[in-house]
Symmetry: C2
Subunit: 348 residues, 2 copies
């Protein structure tokens, strides 16, 4: 039996409480200042995004209740957006009286000052300001997990990239017959994959959009070409960041890219752009409807991050460049994608 607090009452934070409660743990769900309505609706019956009631034993806390939510916990699960991560972590660290293992579902990059960092890097900086000389116990969660499906008990495989034995000892709290957990020591690989797949899913969406627009119905070869190149480029980036290529070729990379490109907000955003929409407008329109295409924000930060790995690395990432040109460079997505495919695999 573990005492668990989940921070963030959106899709993933809420969904993960279900297997945890089913496993008999003491679980508290805290909603951020953006989640107050989600919490109050959930109290009345159903979680509005998941479309189902959460477990009867789950304890709900609104944004004013962080201190109470954190009392007597063994582990904290952070499930806020990448933009919300640093503010929530600061509040969390302020409220904690002793260091606790952190398990995070946040995907993307964070900024501290003018630096762009992986989530775990950013977290470690703040953690060590608060708890000096304590090794942060950390897990990044990745893999092909749509929250709504997890909440309905659809068979789901996830991967935890972790550092530290205290956090590892908590992993048996998670799996159920339908929620399967693979464990790896490659934090860097898991968290980079989780960020990158949102960016590449936008590219696959563009592929759909450009074909919808042109009325061509058959383009599986093209989409597979883009999918495969996404895997190649993710492997290159993860390797340069010190992670393992094998992580990319498993649940965190290949598996998650598969699910993210088949369904979800980043793919939808890409499709709108591929069909001729103006990227900034499409992003704003989705945001206003409460749907964050996280890849958009991640792509911005990735340009800076990639440059810190290796200057000029973008030259080796023709698909990423095509996506960037279409989303932020004002270029035609169709032209960019066709140029990228025409250049792949040498000049034979």
């Amino acid at each position: 039996m573990a005492n668990i607090a989940v921070l963030g009452a959106g899709y993933m934070g809420s969904a993960i409480t279900i297997p945890l409660c089913e496993n008999g743990h003491d679980v508290r769900l805290w909603g951020t200042w953006l989640d107050d309505e989600l919490i109050s609706e959930t109290r009345k019956g159903k979680h509005p995004r998941l479309g189902r009631a959460l477990h009867t034993k789950l304890q709900l806390y609104d944004s004013t209740g962080l201190g109470h939510a954190l009392e007597d916990r063994d582990v904290i699960i952070i499930a806020v957006t990448s933009e919300g991560f640093i503010p929530v972590l600061r509040k969390l660290l302020q409220a904690l009286t002793r260091p606790l293992p952190l398990v995070t579902l946040t995907k993307g990059f964070v900024t501290l000052g003018d630096e762009v960092l992986r989530v775990s890097e950013g977290a470690a900086r703040l953690y060590n300001e608060r708890f000096a000389r304590q090794e942060m116990q950390w897990a990044s969660v990745g893999g092909p997990v749509k929250a709504v499906e997890l909440s309905r008990g659809i068979p789901t495989a996830t991967v935890f990239g972790y550092r530290g034995s205290d956090v590892a000892s908590l992993f048996p709290a998670f799996p159920t017959p339908y929620y399967r957990v693979l464990v790896t020591g490659d934090v860097t690989g898991v968290e980079l994959c989780s960020a990158l797949k949102n960016v590449y899913a936008m590219g696959m969406g563009m592929c759909d959009g450009m074909h919808e627009k042109s009325g061509v119905e058959i383009f599986h070869n093209f989409k597979a070409f883009v999918f495969n190149q996404a895997v190649r480029e993710m492997a290159m980036l993860v390797e340069r960041a010190g992670g393992s290529r094998e992580t990319v070729f498993d649940l965190a990379g290949v598996g998650d890219l598969y699910v993210t490109s088949a369904s979800g907000r980043n793919g939808i955003f890409g499709r709108k752009v591929g069909a001729g929409g103006v990227p900034a407008e499409e992003y704003r329109r989705m945001l206003e409807a409460g749907e964050v295409a996280e890849g958009y924000h991640t792509l911005k930060l990735l340009m800076t991050y990639a440059d810190t790995l290796e200057r000029g690395v973008m030259e080796k990432l023709p698909l990423l460049r095509a996506i960037e040109e279409a989303v932020f460079g004002g270029k035609n997505p169709r032209d960019e994608l066709l140029r990228f495919t025409g250049q792949c695999y040498g000049t034979m």
Copy 2:
């Protein structure tokens, strides 16, 4: 300028003549004894399966014209089904007066006596009976290529796994701006991937079928779980056969599995089985309509082949076992797939 003969006038053999003719090569397409109608229809205008005319400079030969089709050729491309491969190769070797490089699009396994072999292994046996002490110049073609799309100029990436410098010198004949060719020395990996992905695509189709049947519309997590496990198991099999895992994580494996599971005869067959159809009947019904679900035949041979790699290796391949039980063991596909997911990733 190369002189090329393509053997087999079905989907792939016919489609590949298009980029080759566009590149200005002298190309002959020979149809087997099963292809006579395809050849005569194509002569009248359109290739019946591709739904378009082939290149005006392409020379067509029906089954009686093999000798003429082979005159003055630099390379032979074999594009028949795995069941037709050995008979066609025997005819070819009989007709050849000197050894020529072979490029093959055939996917699956072949049988010689009571042995089950990879296509290149089977070919090498017959080749060396005909041309003793000559190293066979060989390439296996893989990757995410639907023939109809290639024939329409949709951007397509393919991979050639090759052995021998004569065959490599011919590769520049193939690429066009829309048909991109990656080259690797891993024949074993490319040809095993090409065979295995048809089998695993049946499993992904089953996943679709069981959800269609139950009326559940969301199952991306589950399908990604199956996709990812297919990649893992393909990597295990390729490694044990002496190929490279990296081949599986690129166009031949991940890329081709992506396209094969999104569209095609093996996925359709799997979907029918997943929705409750009787496998042998569904296979026969498709066959009668001229649609061969090659994975069905490949799966049968794979059981024998896998055992030659490592006795009991099936115990390490829970997804393959689930597919085999559903297709040939009379078991319920839903039960098999759910059991497999519930057992993955240890017993935590």
